[in-house]
């Protein structure tokens, strides 16, 4: 178990490309930190720097209280599960899991106990004599995890370990990894581009984009209080709706006025937005905060906005509906499946003003 600390860490390639810029991030002991972001955002590079597979151009990286910039991968006492699993194809499952222990000089008897124990924990005991080629994707994934846990490392790194599994298996594996983290209590650093994985597994989530860390927080805080337009749009599926708006002062208080509708800003945030009157802003509203008039949730502060129904995706437990406003801009709403929306009909959808997020138009930061 150990803490991990990135201090102004930067990765610059020979061609001048900066993959990770001034990364400052502290990962607590026993934490499950998820690095999430679109492809090319620098999350995998950050993980590989932590693993020791990639040089650090500048800044400091600490594991525990040791600076590890110049310590090679093999001496960092960390284990990694690769996206491709990277099992040794010429070794049996047992040998795959025993490899690191064997290199450490652990006795044969001890190796056997530890490998069998780890295999039992993951339910892969019957596979120990097989070669990786003879395993299914899900089994390979378990072996890769098994190979990491037998070592009892200070930190676990996982690079999109579930992305090669089918949807059903992925849900199961997600729960298993969370349980594993609870049982082991070791620090996990987990890279994914899938925000569902991030939300469900992480004790904290670090969102990256363009090599820059955008926000680090617990899943719920990240979802409820995104720091900028990128985080707001990235977390949540379908994405948050954005509208261009101007903050106006009226007799009833501050409002956000778009080309086609006007929403009063929540009472408890009036003071916060006071300094932004007359300013161009981006108004964000999540799809679940837009309700069908017949199925509105209680306790919302609704404002009716007229829009035309476009495509409706029926998911069974909900419907994802695409709407068009009179000025041709679009938004998405997550509505009750009982509301039988007809493509082409116009109706007044209810926008819950409590869910409003306002961002500065220029900097895209939360106001």
């Amino acid at each position: 178990m150990a803490t991990v600390k990135f201090e102004q860490v930067q990765k610059r390639y020979d061609n001048g490309f900066v993959a990770v810029k001034d990364l400052n991030l502290e990962i607590g002991e026993g934490e499950f930190l998820v690095l999430v972001g679109p492809s090319g955002c620098g999350k995998t590079t950050s993980l590989r720097m932590l693993a020791g597979l990639e040089d650090i151009s500048s800044g400091n990286l600490h594991i525990g209280n040791q600076r590890v910039n110049d310590i090679s991968a093999k001496d960092r006492d960390i284990a990694m599960v690769f996206q491709s699993y990277a099992l040794y194809p010429h070794m049996s499952v047992f040998e795959n899991m025993a490899f690191s222990l064997d290199l450490q000089g652990v006795s044969k008897a001890d190796i056997k106990t530890r490998v069998t124990q780890a295999a039992a924990q993951l339910g892969i005991e019957p596979l120990l004599s097989r070669k990786p080629k003879q395993l299914s994707g899900g089994q390979r994934q378990r072996v890769a995890v098994g190979r990491a846990i037998v070592r009892n490392p200070a930190v676990f790194l996982m690079d999109e370990p579930l992305s090669n599994l089918d949807a059903k298996l992925r849900v199961q594996a997600r729960a298993e990894l969370s349980k594993l983290h609870r049982d082991l209590g070791t620090t996990f650093v987990y890279v994914t581009h899938d925000q569902v994985e991030a939300m469900t597994m992480g004790s904290r989530i670090a969102v990256m984009n363009g090599g820059i860390l955008q926000q680090v927080d617990t899943p719920q805080n990240l979802y409820d209080h995104p720091a900028n337009v990128f985080v707001a749009g990235f977390m949540g599926s379908p994405s948050m709706n954005f509208f261009e708006a101007v903050v106006q002062s009226t007799e009833q208080g501050l409002v956000a006025q778009t080309e086609t509708f006007t929403l009063p800003l929540p009472h408890d945030r009036q003071a916060r937005y006071e300094g932004h009157v007359g300013q161009q802003v981006i108004l964000g509203l999540r799809p679940e905060q837009i309700h069908h008039p017949s199925y509105a949730a209680p306790g919302i502060e609704p404002v009716a906005v007229k829009a035309e129904v476009g495509v409706v995706e029926m998911m069974g437990h909900e419907a994802i509906a695409y709407f068009t406003l009179p000025n041709a801009s679009e938004f998405i709403a997550r509505v009750d499946p009982r509301a039988k929306l007809m493509s082409g009909e116009t109706l007044e959808m209810l926008f819950d003003t409590q869910g409003i997020h306002l961002f500065d138009k220029a900097s895209e930061a939360l106001l």
Binding site: G52, K74, S84, A86, Y88, F99, S100, L103
Partner: protein, 327 residues
């Protein structure tokens, strides 16, 4: 005059190419047309044979029949007149010159195969990590493009010997003399000459080994090597425990190919020493018996021995090949 004869030669070559490939095209085209006149059931039965037929005929005429005839001749006397049983084989396994050739061939087999593969492997691994890899690989692969005879001519200069005091035109002896040693008769000294010849073959074949092994090494997924490093393996352990086992099948293919090649070697010996001074190998002795001593019986018997030596290697190779196809 010279130009004119060259021109006719070039024209002749072009004609041969056109006639050769054109003839084959015509053969297949014509056969196909004839087969198309048959009914569907007959066509399906005949067509495969029409396509592999010419190749089968050629193989039979130029490979199978000569092999059978060689086996037959090996039981006859030198003029192929009289059946003499296993006498030629007794000769092949007891004659002094033959035993020396066997010893030499064994030396060739072990040294060329082992050193070429080992060197090729080491170079492949090292070159994989340098920036000017294509240049380095190109230089080492270059000798592959030279024929055995051509290489032998080059190496005759490298090994050339002049008596002490005279100017040394041989590279090695020039160095030896330059360092203050006596010139060495590389090809005359019986303790050295076999190794001098073997070195030529190694020079020729290391590039071949390197290229095949290098591509096998590049085929190893990077994250498997990274996983090993994270598991605590140092570079040497990665090499022995991950790289080598993962390219094992390529190593085997390269080794068997080299083995066959070495068993067939005769040109280097023929050009460099003519097989004198205990440098004969089985193949060069076979040529000698056949064409110098005109003893078809003994020559054929040696050829059969050589054939038998190659068969197990070929079996391994074909098995390996099939396995790879299955995978």
């Amino acid at each position: 005059m010279q130009d004119a004869s060259n021109l006719t030669r070039i024209l002749g070559a072009i004609a041969a190419i056109l006639f050769g490939s054109g003839g084959i095209l015509a053969l297949f085209y014509g056969a196909n047309r004839i087969v198309n006149r048959f009914s569907q059931t007959w066509r399906d039965r005949i067509l495969p044979w029409v396509y592999i037929g010419p190749a089968m005929v050629m193989l039979t005429a130029y490979l199978i029949l000569p092999t059978l005839r060689t086996i037959y001749l090996s039981f006859l006397d030198r003029g192929s007149d009289k059946f003499i049983g296993l006498k030629n084989y007794t000769f092949a396994f007891t004659n002094d010159a033959m035993l020396t050739a066997f010893r030499n061939n064994l030396l060739w087999l072990v040294l060329v195969t082992f050193i070429s593969v080992a060197l090729g492997l080491v170079i492949a691994v090292l070159v994989d990590r340098v920036k000017y890899e294509p240049l380095a690989k190109g230089l080492i692969f270059l000798p592959m493009a030279i024929s055995f005879v051509g290489a032998s001519v080059i190496w005759r200069f490298v090994y050339a010997y002049s008596p002490p005091g005279a100017d040394q035109i041989g590279l090695l002896n020039a160095i030896a003399v330059g360092l203050g040693f006596e010139p060495i008769g590389w090809l005359v000294n019986k303790a050295l000459n076999n190794f001098a010849l073997i070195a030529i073959m190694i020079w020729l074949q290391t590039g071949f080994c390197m290229v095949l092994l290098s591509s096998a090494i590049k085929g190893i997924p990077g994250d498997v090597l990274e996983a090993a490093r994270m598991d605590g393996a140092n570079e040497l352990q990665v090499f022995w425990r991950i790289t080598i086992p993962m390219i094992r099948s390529t190593i085997l293919v390269v080794t068997t190919t080299l083995t066959v090649l070495v068993l067939k070697v005769f040109d280097i010996v023929f050009v460099m020493t003519g097989g004198n001074l205990d440098t004969d190998v089985i193949a060069s002795l076979m040529i000698k018996q056949m064409f110098k001593f005109r003893d078809f019986g003994k020559g054929s018997a040696i050829a059969v021995v050589l054939l038998l030596a190659v068969i197990p290697v070929m079996v391994v190779n074909i098995r390996r090949f099939r396995q790879q196809e299955v995978n």
